[in-house]
Symmetry: C2
Subunit: 557 residues, 2 copies
């Protein structure tokens, strides 16, 4: 049935050609490791991307080969973003924050033949480099610091480009072929690779460019604070390439002062960052009143973890610009939903608006959602909880070479996100828990996150975790493990009384245990798995105790 | 290479599902032939679309079959727009303004099995109905006027829907399959059919929805004044479906009073119409000061023919909203370019901005442009003229069953638009002529349109046509045919003197002839073909005359 409309493949080089012809003079500004500001244009940068591709081809890189990056956000990284997929090879971003064991596994599993690494990251790179047998070439960006040595075989990035001929990017590419890949690292199991196609990248670029998302226009200056080793910096480099948007990249300097300086000096209009970055930026901004003119900003996009209402309000108060809450995953390219207000909610009162903007939002065009619990698909009633499933043209259909993960994808073509959500009648998603953390009690689900947040609001609670513990009668029951603030007191009963007005009786933790500290990962996340293991036999141990089935909670339904 | 990202086909039913789940309560408002206002919602309308499809299936309509419409813009027409492609059949819009001979040819050529016709258009329909042998069913929308009779075999649209079961739209569709078709009718040759695919419609909907075009948001109220029988009403019904945009449709009442009433009462935010419609609306608006509150309007989109600067200015002055100049063709779905200002031009002075906004604009993402003359591809210097070629995922690859038109498509995959343009260094297209009208003189091109516009500015000139006439030495030379205003005088020399400061000497028409009237089509367009025929032997006839090669114009180059 081809031949009616043009068989025009959706590919990265088509975006490159567009920027070369229409936007060659638009700027790309980044901060280099030494703190200096580097300025270039799409025209110059894309010519360098072509020469990089020419050089890689000369090194023996073929279509389909993986070219890894181990880099901060800077113009050279953009050159790899644009050049490698356009020659038919696969951009493979490595997350510089991961443990060397994970990095060794990922690079080996992906089969990286070339690694392009920042000189300032050579120290970290060397910790796993020799464990990756597929690496043939290492290309070093920038001058190595005094305490770091390259190996004689390593190639200097600038020397490589200087000596290369531009690639023509003319080989026909199939839009279904791989363009990039990125690994997720959950708290459980091995890292899993997501492979983006040319088609998914271009369609995602269009999605991000929609007026209803309104985060990418030709007239914008976009700053990706989110790392380029995280889900393609939320796809911003490709959407900006398509739109001809000026880009600003912060390099390794992610401290609030450096970020604010760039936001102000480059008159950034849209910036993309996770909530923790914005928290730090806000605090610094408050401590230096009048120091940074960020009046050009028209939107701060955030996501990755939930954006609290106070942060949404704080952004507007400080910057006069809204914070836009996005939801997505590595598996969804990542844009899945956006918490912009619908026309109807634009008429609502401020509190309602804030509540909706703090949700994960409604799905962007071409993304479909549904949620399912043990009883089947859940109604969109803002109350029923189920695991979120998504499908769409930029959602992964599988993990790379990982048949053991097939259960994350349904037979009828949906991806299981692992997020427990409610969906409201308007289609707004609200994440209430992770699937592995939700507590299944008597056929109903209890949100561990909701209980934890409520406990954390008690003046005597420093931090709290709530986990589901196997129970002979109710399948699971919640157990709260609480660290008290120094000098404060509370009892299980006083905490239950505190929770009681906000939750159904059968949600209240049967047991509340006090501990000195909670087990945590190296990045500070509470290790719920360890808690579940520790408390696994809790109800068996105290099977006779009254707290197992108190009268008030006899009938969870 | 499938299996990395989801094989999610880009199809109309995916947009239908989206609107059903997210935007079921959004309104669709239209004016019926009796002038009354009809209000419905996406939820109700899409259920009716499903029942229409169910009924068509029961009538024997199969995937791939053409279902024609002969309708104004109204909610029933939208139901056909959404229902027919979603069942795998092909929406085939017939232009009610065409000559019955053309309509008979088109419907027969397309092979329309079913025609859905407005009762108020039955009179026109009967003029060609019996000449289309493929028609099996005629479905009549609305009650026939007193002077019109349906045939006993004709089916009432409402009765059909009332008795039908909803179609499930569940059959898997290939995004490359036909979804809609529409015929162009040039001034020469037979009408030519353009077949839109599901893929092209969905990608075009995304294109129209981009922030850089900014004509379709969920929060908008969009009014397509442009007929739904013209290039899918510029794709607005599908983009609105995708975005969940409230729609307003004017029905048969295209008089300025009715349009202004709807713009005001429904608080329309974006409206789409050709320049002649806006001219009439502006004039009426001026004659009724204060009568219409159109303050909700944020953009008036126009195209189809060039939008003059005075109209751009006039829109802003009257409505406080910009007019956005779009360019496209039936063959380009139609959105090809948009004359929004780039970030750079947003800093320019008002005159420069107006000049750029009056151009056809820069190509929307995924649309590529180039221009070619006899010497090859022309540089983007705002001066060199060439025929515009385009390619992209929503550009036709061929005309339906018309092998004789293959020369409109290049071997390397570009469509020849027939428009002579210049392209400026920023990629802004300016149409200077139609290919068949441009005058080729001594290896250079002369714009007939530019000369005509200049002549029309002379106080003694009522109207003027400039055509290229065969010349023994220069290939062609321009001849101007002029109608003088009553009571005014001018001579060939005085007109040449008037033109002289604005054009190279060799552009000046060698001959200027005065006539009482110009030959025109029924729709008022000047029949240049007739003029070219009439003047074909002009230079042969006066081969010896001094005006053939005056000294001043001896060297066109």
């Amino acid at each position: 049935m081809r031949g009616l409309m043009m068989d025009y493949q959706l590919t990265v080089p088509s975006l490159v050609r567009r920027a070369e012809t229409l936007h060659a003079r638009k700027e790309i500004v980044d901060r280099q490791p030494d703190g200096s500001i580097h300025r270039t244009t799409y025209g110059v940068l894309l010519n360098r991307a072509r020469r990089l591709a020419g050089a890689l081809q000369a090194l023996g890189v073929h279509p389909g080969d993986r070219v890894a990056t181990f880099c901060w956000n800077h113009h050279q990284h953009l050159e790899v973003y644009y050049g490698v997929p356009s020659m038919g090879a696969v951009l493979h971003t490595l997350n510089i924050r991961l443990h060397p064991d994970d990095l060794a596994f990922i690079a080996q599993h992906a089969g990286a033949r070339v690694v392009i690494v920042d000189a300032v990251l050579l120290g970290v790179f060397e910790k796993f480099r020799d464990r990756v047998s597929t690496i043939e070439h290492v290309i070093v960006v920038g001058a190595p610091p005094a305490d770091t040595a390259t190996r004689p075989v390593d190639i200097d990035y600038e020397t490589l480009i200087a000596g290369a001929s531009p690639h023509d990017f003319d080989a026909p590419l199939d839009e279904w072929q791989a363009a990039a890949m990125c690994y997720t690292s959950g708290t459980t199991g091995k890292p899993r690779g997501v492979v983006y196609t040319h088609r998914s990248i271009v369609l995602h670029a269009l999605g991000l460019g929609l007026a209803d998302i309104d985060l990418m226009r030709e007239s914008d200056t976009a700053m990706a604070i989110v790392p380029m080793y995280h889900a393609n910096a939320w796809g911003t480099p490709y959407s900006a390439l398509m739109c001809g948007t000026k880009q600003v990249l912060p390099g390794p300097r992610l401290d609030p002062a450096s970020l604010l300086e760039l936001l102000a000096s480059e008159r950034v209009t849209v910036a993309f960052g996770v909530p923790t970055v914005w928290t730090a930026v806000f605090e610094f901004f408050d401590r230096h009143p009048g120091a940074y003119d960020v009046s050009a900003l028209r939107a701060a996009a955030s996501g990755g973890t939930a954006v609290p209402p106070a942060m949404l309000r704080g952004c507007e108060q400080r910057f006069g610009a809204p914070m836009i809450h996005l939801w997505g995953m590595t598996e969804t390219s990542p844009l899945g939903s956006c918490a912009r207000l619908t026309e109807e909610l634009q008429q609502a009162d401020a509190d309602t608006q804030l509540a909706y903007r703090a949700m994960q939002g409604w799905p962007v065009p071409l993304i479909e959602i549904r949620a399912r619990n043990d009883a089947g698909l859940v109604p969109w009633d803002a109350t029923s909880m189920g695991e979120l499933e998504v499908r769409g043209p930029w959602v992964a259909a599988s993990y790379y070479n990982a048949p053991e993960t097939a259960d994350r994808f349904t037979d009828d073509g949906w991806f299981l996100t692992g997020d427990i959500v409610t969906i409201d009648p308007r289609g707004y998603i609200r994440i209430v828990d992770r699937a592995k953390d939700v507590i299944k009690s008597g056929g109903e689900w209890v949100s561990s996150v909701a209980l934890e947040s409520a406990l954390a609001a008690h003046p005597a609670v420093l931090e709290a975790a709530v986990v589901g513990v196997p129970h002979p009668h109710w399948d699971e029951r919640p157990v709260a493990i609480v660290v008290r603030r120094e000098g404060r007191t509370c009892t299980p009963d006083s905490l239950r009384d505190f929770l009681s007005p906000s939750f159904p009786k059968w949600w209240l933790p049967d047991a509340i245990e006090f501990v000195d500290a909670l087990p945590k990962t190296t990045t500070g996340k509470i290790l719920k798995r360890a808690l579940r293991d520790e408390y696994a036999t809790y109800y068996t141990r105290c099977a006779a105790a009254a707290l197992v089935a108190p009268a008030a909670r006899a009938s969870p339904a």
